[in-house]
């Protein structure tokens, strides 16, 4: 019984972490048709934006929930201006340019910070479940992921900026004709996606640690989740996270090293059956 509870918690955690690390990528891809190949490095930057201030004595929660998203969000706005904007509508070139950015960021991080950055222990202690112990931080990750998804949904559906951004996504020319500054909307959207990536990287940092190449461990999972989800990016990312997270975790319980292989196989078969992702067929009218 206790073991079953642990399994459920682990599966929920796998789903939540997948959804969390994919959300920033999903927003940028879903709203702007831009694949940010440097997404993993945005997560890395978010991680450092927690660890370095904490080392300097800043409160962990302040660094995680405020400093990291703001830093990476501002960085994203700069990146959008220099690299993304000249390449709008040219999806392949954007991928290549951001891939270059990803290498550049990895190089800079290993040059400036190096590989010996001290980590931060997961806060909140542990919870006893029968014979088992589970880090309370695990529950925090599951909870805050749900909160973030709801917040993003409400932000896009209920605020003025959200509606303008959604309108721009549907028809940029029409939005421009109605007096919307499309470039500014794109910049803000990219900044929002980057900020959420930074937040995700920050939340994962106490668990996964941060090294300059940490992004590589995230990027494949995030890509598969977003692409498996399809164009309706919020519902799609959530649905793909549930599917892939459950499968990865269950296979990992059975054999440690094949979880990711199972993830890939499922993703390839899924894309064979549903070339436009889960939301190409289901949940088409969501967000």
């Amino acid at each position: 019984m206790d073991f079953a509870a642990i399994v459920v918690i682990q599966v929920l955690y796998a789903i939540a972490s997948l959804a969390l690390i994919s959300l920033g990528l999903a927003i940028i891809f879903g709203m702007m048709r831009v694949i940010n190949f440097a997404h993993g490095e945005f997560l890395m930057l978010g991680g450092y934006a927690v660890l370095l201030p904490v080392e300097a004595g800043v409160n962990l929660w302040l660094a995680m929930l405020v400093i990291a998203p703001v830093t990476v969000g501002l960085f994203g706005i700069v990146v959008e201006r220099i690299i993304i904007r000249p390449l709008y509508g040219r999806i392949v070139e954007t991928v290549l340019a951001t891939w270059g950015l990803s290498l550049l960021m990895i190089g800079l991080a290993s040059e400036i910070i190096g590989y010996y950055q001290a980590g931060a222990a997961p806060p909140l202690g542990t919870v006893q479940i029968g014979f088992y112990r589970e880090g309370a931080y695990t529950f925090f990750v599951i909870g805050i992921t749900a909160v973030i998804f709801v917040a993003v949904y409400l932000f896009l559906r209920r605020t003025r900026f959200g509606l303008i951004a959604l309108g721009t996504m549907q028809n940029a020319d029409m939005a421009a004709a109605l007096g919307v500054n499309v470039n500014r909307v794109y910049a803000a959207t990219f900044g929002l996606g980057a900020a959420l990536s930074g937040l995700a990287g920050a939340i994962m940092a106490p668990i996964a640690g941060v090294v300059p190449i940490i992004g590589i461990t995230y990027i494949a999972k995030a890509f598969i989740t977003v692409i498996g989800g399809g164009t309706v990016f919020l519902a799609g990312t959530a649905a793909a996270s549930v599917l892939f997270g459950t499968i990865t975790q269950v296979v990992t319980f059975l054999s440690t090293s094949f979880g990711e292989v199972a993830l890939l196989v499922v993703a390839v078969v899924l894309l064979h059956l549903l070339p436009e992702g889960i939301t190409g067929r289901f949940l088409r009218r969501g967000l």
């Binding site: 694949i35 690299i83 340019a97 290498l103 190089g107 692409i227 440690t256 993703a267």
Partner: protein, 322 residues
């Protein structure tokens, strides 16, 4: 125009004579270094075909390269003679390409989705090999996990494992393979099949409406490219007598893409030039430690995409044509 064509032929013949005559003049050490450039040029040609000519956005060419290298290594360790293992090193990635390619092309996975999936395939191989510890063996060949497999047997004269190729012969063989692959791809692209592939790259819908099966053509190109990449992987493993999971790593994948981007997408000669240039640059940076390789390659990548999107070969060709 005639004079220019004649000049190009003369330059090509001169370059070939220089390439093949080199062992007479230079030291063996230099030749050994040069061999890896030749091997990388072959790998570059494989992606130039798949991405440049057939328009398949393959971000996982390193998967076929590594698969070829590993297949050769495992086979030659078990068999002794290197003749059949070379063929296995070509066949395994080709068969793997048929299987994945079937899912991708017949599932109508296109563009960026294709790039992502192929990239993930190479990452999965990387993780899989990395986590396969010393206890995993195929026949007598240990997979070695993170550490790779040292002591890969060299190529030998067909049928005679007692007589391995020396460094000069290894260089010559790689050079011959490079020239043959280059000429072969030129020929392939001039055939009806090759031109259909280019037509599909230019406008897939139109080519299909004209009755060509884009899925089949793409699958064939993907497979040919995988076989060539596998062959270069074989040569690489035999050259360095070492193979490791870094052959699958995302950094290596990125390098192959940068070669093509720098040399010029859609050209064959440009791909070779790009591979040689960037390979030289990374070797030089590795030796002198002037700057982190990733910083330089990343900057080059961004600058080329933004400012020199055609790559150097077409840019120079246009400049010459003026």
């Amino acid at each position: 125009m005639r004079g220019k064509a004649l000049g190009l032929w003369a330059a090509a013949i001169g370059a070939l004579a220089l390439a093949f005559g080199l062992p007479l003049f230079v030291e063996t050490f230099f030749l050994v270094e040069l061999t890896v450039y030749v091997v990388m040029a072959i790998l570059a040609l494989s992606l130039a075909l798949v991405w440049g000519s057939a328009g398949i956005l393959n971000f996982g060419q390193s998967a076929f390269f590594g698969l070829g290298g590993y297949a050769y290594t495992i086979a030659v360790m078990n068999m002794g003679d290197s003749t059949v293992p070379i063929l296995i090193g070509i066949a395994v990635p080709a068969v793997f390409a048929v299987v994945t390619g079937y899912f991708l092309f017949y599932g109508r996975v296109s563009d960026i989705y294709l790039g992502t999936i192929t990239l993930c395939v190479s990452l999965i191989f990387f993780n899989l090999i990395n986590s396969s510890g010393a206890e995993y063996r195929i026949g007598i060949a240990p997979l070695g996990g993170n550490n790779g497999i040292p002591g890969v047997p060299p190529l030998n004269v067909p049928g005679n494992p007692e007589r391995p190729l020396d460094f000069d012969e290894m260089y010559m063989l790689s050079m011959v393979v490079l020239v043959l692959v280059y000429l072969g791809l030129h020929w392939l692209l001039a055939t009806r099949f090759g031109r259909v592939a280019v037509a599909i790259r230019e406008n897939e819908l139109r080519a299909e409406l004209l009755g060509y099966d884009a899925r089949l053509v793409k699958l064939a190109m993907f497979t040919i490219g995988a076989g060539i990449a596998g062959l270069s992987g074989v040569l690489f493993a035999a050259w360095g007598s070492f193979i490791g999971p870094t052959m699958f790593s995302i950094f290596f994948t990125a390098q192959i893409i940068i070669w093509i981007m720098v040399g010029g997408l859609g050209t064959l000669a440009g791909a070779v030039a790009g591979a040689v240039l960037i390979q030289w640059l990374t070797t030089w940076l590795g030796e002198t430690k002037i700057a982190d390789t990733n910083i330089v390659l990343g900057a080059i990548f961004v600058v080329f995409v933004l400012l020199v999107p055609r790559g150097i070969q077409p840019t120079i060709a246009r400049w010459l044509a003026r």
